[in-house]
């Protein structure tokens, strides 16, 4: 066998896999999004944007991401700092923090439903404490705010650990000597965090934030479990167009919109958190 062909041959399986399972379906969806009955059209996007639910859908999705991700980022940084500093029981702490990661998002949604439901844990607790006379409808169609809060809580509980795991790995890559130098040259623990940890953690922050933001735009099962259709989000609407309204073209357009938003934010964070080549560790 020729040495020149070998690398391409070895790349072949992965390339084929990508073509068959990612690029080809993507091309199909893209094609469906811009055609109707075989003719090119942008009507699918117009239909999607013209739906009375659409503004609320976009708003809810963006708002959810805008609130959940910063809270998760802060918590993940805090948790990662704690875990990184532990001398004993580090992996135990890491596992405990990471438990919610092992639960599917629908199951996570159902767990929080069991808490906030009319006959759920929270109501049982409140009435046994005598705070309320009868169960409260936390997740009714009139209480959008509590639904939103419940979804945000469930998302934070479920997906903070993925950021933490990435950040713990990133913190492990920062040489200890930098902290010692900063300490000797007068930096307090907070200053060390702001002036050493955060800037040197930028590559990991980038990964963690991009991953989380993309996942936040794809939020679906948790919302479905806790809010049903009372809190419409982009992914839920895509599902609706496909299965309830049986319009695959508009569903494809909706999916493309989510993709576009994800790509947009990815590029934004790649740019903002870029580390110049000369300033890398």
């Amino acid at each position: 066998m020729h040495g020149k062909a070998l690398p391409y041959l070895l790349l072949m399986p992965a390339t084929l896999f990508l073509w068959i399972f990612f690029l080809y379906p993507f091309a199909l969806v893209a094609f469906e999004a811009v055609t109707r009955d075989g003719a090119f059209t942008l009507d699918n996007f117009r239909t999607m944007a013209g739906s009375w639910k659409f503004p609320a859908t976009v708003r809810n999705t963006l708002l959810l991401a805008a609130i959940v991700v910063p809270i998760q980022l802060t918590m993940a940084l805090l948790m990662a700092s704690v875990v990184s500093r532990l001398e004993t029981g580090r992996s135990a702490a890491l596992y405990v923090f990471a438990i919610p990661l092992g639960i599917s998002d629908l199951a996570a949604g159902l767990i929080w439903l069991a808490i906030f439901d009319q006959s759920g844990f929270l109501n049982t607790l409140l009435s046994s404490l005598g705070v309320v006379d009868r169960p409260v409808m936390f997740l009714g169609y009139q209480s959008k705010l509590t639904i939103f809060i419940a979804v945000a809580l469930a998302e934070i509980w479920r997906a903070t650990a993925i950021m933490m795991v990435i950040l713990v790995a990133g913190m492990g890559l920062i040489p200890k000597e930098y902290y010692e130098a900063a300490e000797v040259f007068g930096a307090s623990p907070w200053q060390r965090f702001v002036r050493i940890t955060l800037p040197l953690l930028r590559p990991s922050l980038q990964t963690a934030i991009i991953l989380r933001v993309i996942l936040a735009f794809e939020v679906f099962a948790v919302v479905a479990a806790l809010g049903g259709t009372n809190l419409p989000v982009l992914m839920g609407e895509t599902y609706n167009w496909q299965f309830t309204l049986q319009d695959r073209n508009v569903a494809a357009a909706s999916a493309l919109l989510i993709l576009a938003i994800s790509i947009g934010f990815t590029l934004f964070f790649l740019r903002v958190l870029r580390v110049p080549k000369e300033a890398r560790i």
Binding site: A182, F185, A187
Partner: protein
């Protein structure tokens, strides 16, 4: 004034004792080198003075103030790290300015000090660069400039030259000595390189297995080792040791030679002499030549004396062959005696 006093400092890591009851006083503006092989505790001692490590017991005083309970930033010290620890995300300017910014000095003063120390270390043309764009030697200069910019009472250096190549090390060594002498700081400098220690130090503290074996001037450490370890560690090649047996009171037999020595109630001693302190002659230690290494200015001759290895530095004119029987006469004032039990000098 920044005298450093280390009083009864011990450090234990679990069951391992890194430092046993170390006492050391370093006077104001003195250049003290901690010298020892790796694992002897020299870096641990330096880190205890810096505050990066807490002593298991004992006290550390800097400038008449007890500091062992204080964090590093309250000790009035600056430090140069072995791997330099030049922050990769900051420019050279901001690296040197780091400590000054922490002290919240006015911008004007920060600029003045950064420019002054950068000039001192000849890196003024690098101020806008990042660490990744510097060579090892330049990084080293940034690390030293960062420490000097603090105008500290005490500078601590942890093997600062060990990552440089030989030529650069030689150059930086001379430069460091000049810069630090001019800055009038008290310096503690850790190294495993004896030549570096000899050339830089006002005093050398030789450490071995968590203890300071001897703390004295470089010449004193070289000429009068306080213990066998110091003699065998310092000097290249190191000191020669030969067992001696008592001939009479105050006289000892060493490799076929009878020499005057200490009057002691002991049967065995150890005789020691530096390789350059013997001359080939008619009378002397009985030696059989094993290896001859002509080094230019002199010839290094490795011999067999009393079944042990003995190195002599002889004149390069001497015509010596492998297998020759030599008589090596020790210079009387350079002979040292050690107690074989305690290994201490007599």
């Amino acid at each position: 004034m920044a005298e450093i006093a280390i009083k009864g400092v011990a450090k234990r890591f679990g069951g391992f004792t890194a430092l046993h009851q170390v006492d050391l006083t370093i006077s104001d503006q003195e250049f003290m080198v901690l010298l020892g092989a790796s694992g002897c505790g020299k870096t641990t001692l330096l880190r205890i003075v810096a505050g990066l490590e807490r002593p298991s017991q004992g006290e550390v005083w800097i400038g008449g103030r007890r500091v062992d309970h204080l964090p590093p930033r309250e000790r009035g010290i600056a430090m140069v790290f072995q791997n330099y620890a030049v922050f990769p995300h900051l420019t050279v300017f901001e690296n040197i300015a780091f400590g000054l910014r922490m002290k919240k000095l006015p911008q004007q003063e920060v600029e003045r000090r950064v420019n002054r120390t950068a000039e001192l270390m000849h890196i003024e043309q690098l101020l806008k660069r990042y660490s990744g764009q510097l060579s090892g030697g330049q990084r080293q200069r940034v690390a030293v400039a960062r420490a000097l910019a603090m105008e500290p009472d005490v500078i601590l250096m942890d093997e600062p030259l060990s990552n440089l190549d030989a030529l650069l090390r030689l150059e930086m060594r001379a430069e460091l000595k000049g810069v630090l002498a001019a800055s009038k700081t008290t310096t503690i400098y850790v190294t495993h390189d004896q030549v570096e220690a000899m050339s830089l130090a006002d005093r050398i503290a030789v450490m071995h297995q968590g203890r300071i074996v001897q703390a004295a001037s470089p010449v004193e450490v070289y000429r009068n080792p306080a213990a066998r370890f110091v003699g065998s560690f310092i000097g290249n090649p190191p000191m020669n040791f030969i067992p001696a047996t008592k001939a009479a009171n105050g006289s000892w037999t060493v490799a076929g030679l009878t020499l005057p020595g200490p009057s002691l109630d002991k049967q065995k001693l150890e005789f020691a002499i530096r390789p350059e302190d013997v001359d080939a002659g008619a009378e002397g230690l009985h030696a059989t030549v094993r290896v001859i290494e002509p080094l230019g200015p002199h010839t290094l001759v490795t011999c067999d004396v009393e079944g042990g290895l003995f190195r002599a530095i002889l004149d390069s004119n001497a015509s010596i062959q492998v297998g020759d029987d030599l008589r090596l006469a020790p210079k009387p004032d350079r002979i040292r005696w050690f107690d074989p039990e305690t290994t201490n000098a007599l």
